[in-house]
């Protein structure tokens, strides 16, 4: 059943798919986005929405930094529902050992154009009175911010729709190739460019992609305005995120625009089992309470889980499949897809329309993941 032809088709209406539609609709006449559920209802509905520049690897730094700049260019246009808050990040040192690395980190950020400030023990206490007294200090990145991912995805798609993007909701794609997409109801759409942006499910549509779900838990509280001011992350977070160990928790606490406190985070490889693991939740909260003892008194209203789409080289897969350039991938964003969605969409649109990309696309090319490590 042939239903339509488009210049580009995006499969998946998470924040990455919506960002792809946003930029593709700038360069193409007609774009179609396919999403079986609510827009942003996948990992995007589970993510913390911390828009953060990360220095884990040069490629990751480049992508997060570029993407954050793109976000900042849009903030003034975005709706209130996107809950944008320019909180900054405060990386908190637990001990002198961790604190001794802070200056080096600051220098790296500054050298690469990201403002960073070292805070001593007293400055940290002043910046976040609810942190445990006596912490040695931390690193503040004032430019980092927080958004609400679902409505941000919705807003991006809304702009794309204004430029003519068509959204087909309700049915999943079952067969995706460079030239066409078939949905579960048998309808078939053809296109010069197809982007697989199905997040953790991308590998089900494009065999050979190595993407594994990595489960995370989050807890949200009732409203306690100004209990916390910055997105707070322990300096040990990178280690916890980077290690492929089977299970880890880290102190990661975020002020929501609503006044709620969002508490993360955990990482586990357990397949697609979304059940709440009480042991992990307990560990996560205990970890948060080590840094912020008073957090234990706040009222928790909901716990949920989500899945990060993890790749072997810890970088998202962005670009054309080597064997079929019309088949593009935009998936595998692990714990940074909210941040990197815009740079991903831009990269996809640039590559698809033959524009030289703003950042080096090679580390993200499909296939790169297999050759890495």
């Amino acid at each position: 059943m042939e239903v339509g032809t488009y210049d580009a088709i995006v499969v998946g209406g998470g924040i990455v798919g919506c960002a792809c539609a946003y930029y593709l609709s700038e360069v193409f006449e007609s774009v179609l986005l396919i999403e079986p559920g609510p827009i942003g209802g996948g990992s995007t509905a589970a993510g913390m929405g911390h828009v953060v520049v990360m220095d884990d690897s040069p490629a990751q730094f480049a992508l997060t930094h570029d993407s954050q700049k793109l976000w900042k260019g849009l903030f003034s246009q975005m709706s209130d529902a996107c809950e944008v808050r320019e909180t900054g990040t405060l990386w908190v040192a637990a001990d002198e050992e961790e604190f001794s690395h802070v200056e080096g980190k600051r220098r790296f950020y500054e050298q690469h154009g990201v403002h960073a400030e070292v805070l001593d023990s007293q400055q940290v206490a002043e910046a976040e009175p609810n942190l445990r007294p006596g912490l040695p200090g931390g690193l503040r990145i004032p430019g980092d911010c927080v958004i609400y991912p679902v409505t941000a995805a919705g807003w991006l798609l809304e702009q794309a729709k204004r430029r003519g993007t068509v959204v087909r909701q309700g049915k999943p794609a079952v067969k995706v190739t460079g030239g066409s997409v078939m949905l579960s109801d048998g309808s078939r759409y053809t296109s010069a460019v197809v982007v697989n942006a199905a997040g953790g499910h991308a590998s089900e549509l494009t065999p050979g992609l190595q993407i594994e779900p990595r489960k995370g838990h989050l807890v949200i509280t009732d409203r306690y305005p100004w209990f916390v001011h910055h997105q707070l992350v322990e300096l040990g977070y990178l280690k916890s995120a980077h290690e492929m160990s089977s299970e880890s928790v880290a102190f990661n606490v975020q002020p929501r625009a609503t006044g709620q406190v969002l508490i993360g985070s955990s990482r586990q490889f357990v397949g697609w089992d979304g059940a709440i693991d009480h042991r992990i939740v307990a560990k996560m909260i205990a970890r948060a309470a080590v840094y912020m003892p008073k957090i234990a008194e706040l009222s928790a209203i909901r716990i949920w889980t989500g899945f990060r789409a993890t790749t072997p080289n810890k970088l998202p897969i962005i670009g054309s499949m080597p064997e079929d350039p019309r088949m593009m991938i935009a998936a595998g964003h692990e714990g940074l897809g909210i941040t990197t969605s815009l740079a991903t969409g831009k990269l996809i649109a640039d590559l698809a329309s033959g524009i030289t990309p703003r950042i080096d696309p090679s580390p993200f090319a499909p296939g790169a993941a297999y050759h890495h490590d």
Binding site: D222, R223, T258, S299
Partner: protein, 82 residues
């Protein structure tokens, strides 16, 4: 069982019978705005049985407590509209 209970509601001393819920005590004291909603309008109890969360007040310094589910006890300090 007949001894009266003394509590403070928004700084005012109030005496209630044993078995009185905080929600009832607050209403009897003439206060109808238990909390300010997200868009800053006053709200009071609806379900009377712990489901709706409209009756939340601060009890002994702890915010977001359902006043319909807690009985008054001696010396309690209750703040509404926080």
């Amino acid at each position: 069982m007949t001894e009266l209970i003394h509590i403070l509601i928004n700084g005012h001393a109030v005496t209630v019978k044993p078995g009185t819920s905080i929600a009832a005590a607050v209403l009897n004291a003439g206060t109808t705005a238990f909390r300010k909603s997200v868009s800053h309008v006053p709200r009071g109890p609806v379900c009377g049985m712990g489901v709706c969360f409209e009756c939340r007040v601060k009890i002994d310094g702890i915010e977001h407590q359902r006043s319909c589910m807690v009985l008054c006890s001696e010396g309690m300090v209750i703040e509404t509209d926080v």
